[in-house]
Amino acid sequence: MITIRVDNKKLTVKEGTNLLKACLDNDIYIPNLCYVEKMSHPPASCRLCFVEIEGEKHPIPACTVKVTREIVVKTDSPGVRQLQKVALQLLLSVHHLDCRNCEANRKCALQKIAKFLNVGLKSKHLDHFLKEMEIDQRHPFLNYYPNRCVLCGRCIHVCRDRNKQAQLTFANRGFDTVISFFIKPGAPPLQCDACRACIEACPVAAILPKISN
């Protein structure tokens, strides 16, 4: 067991514990979107879970840190908050803000983090870019909403975790990146209807079942 100090609170954690998980388990909230418990290599792609660790020059994504020694962590320094706010604003600048008609309304991770960081959902100084396609309905069981998606990759991770091979994937690149899939013609029908792991994992209701019940 190792004792670490987070925001002046002493935590005793097992060696090798993920720092982000250690903090969340001890009621120290750090904004995060892409981390899934037990990930062996967190992608650290959402750029939200930054913390400052004493002795380190720059803020580090907490999900990439394994606790191996006694460290002093700050989760709410001005530098960290600045990074988190900008990352969130960039995510929101490509997000279709239609909360009233969105299934995730009130349980949306973006709303929660925006409230926590005190960031408005509409950014004044960033342009707003949306993809042309509103709903991708090609999948037999799922509807995908590219303009809600934050590209955290949780759906791909849980799909691979549960089904050995990921049926979902990132496709294209840059601003055009979407979650997509490729079904082999004539392959046995997918078991997506029974699994639904991706739907549960999505923080923003970008993947929904075709027939909602």
Partner: protein
């Protein structure tokens, strides 16, 4: 809709299948295999994605994700008259996007696609190196400078008329058919 495979392409794919057997099944071979298939058949048809996925024992989605990431892979066969519209800085400033849009509208396909008769394909390219002629489009091997919407119309029409002429002559030469 993606164009159907031609008989020739099917036979090439059969050859590819035998060639694949000799390539090892490591994940790191994914991109080399995709490149190999595209060098044979000039694009990646859907069946090819499944072929690679089966060979490497990964999900077709994963192959698809990698293939869409790289610009070098295409999913539509190149047309007999591939149109490349320059989107370099100079052409962009002189309205290259308007030329591209004209081609797309005239041929009723989007950038990166091929017409159902496989006569035309349209793609955007970065600078082709003759910025003084901006905006530039390349059809086949020929560079067309100072493009205008009317020229787009003319180029497409010329190819279509010539094709018609050839077909008529063919019919004349084979009256029995």
């Amino acid at each position: 809709m993606l164009p159907e495979l031609t008989a020739e392409e099917k036979s090439i794919l059969d050859d590819v299948k035998t060639d694949l057997a000799e390539i090892s099944k490591e994940r790191s071979k994914l991109i080399p295999i995709l490149q190999f298939i595209q060098s044979k058949i000039n694009y990646l048809p859907q069946v090819a994605i499944n072929l690679v996925a089966d060979h490497l024992d990964i999900s077709p989605s994963e192959v698809y994700g990698v293939a869409t990431f790289y610009n070098q892979f295409r999913f539509n066969p190149p047309g007999r008259n591939p149109v490349k519209v320059c989107m370099g800085t100079a052409c962009h400033v002189r309205g290259g996007d308007i030329i591209l849009e004209n081609f797309e509208r005239k041929l009723e396909i989007k950038e990166g696609e091929t017409t159902p008769d496989r006569e035309f394909s349209v793609e955007r390219v970065a600078c082709v190196g003759c910025c003084a002629l901006a905006p530039v489009a390349i059809m086949g091997e020929t560079v067309h400078g100072h493009m205008q919407p009317s020229k787009v119309e003319g180029l497409v029409l010329r190819v279509r008329i010539e094709k018609e002429k050839q077909e008529r002559e063919k019919q004349k030469n084979e009256p029995g058919k």
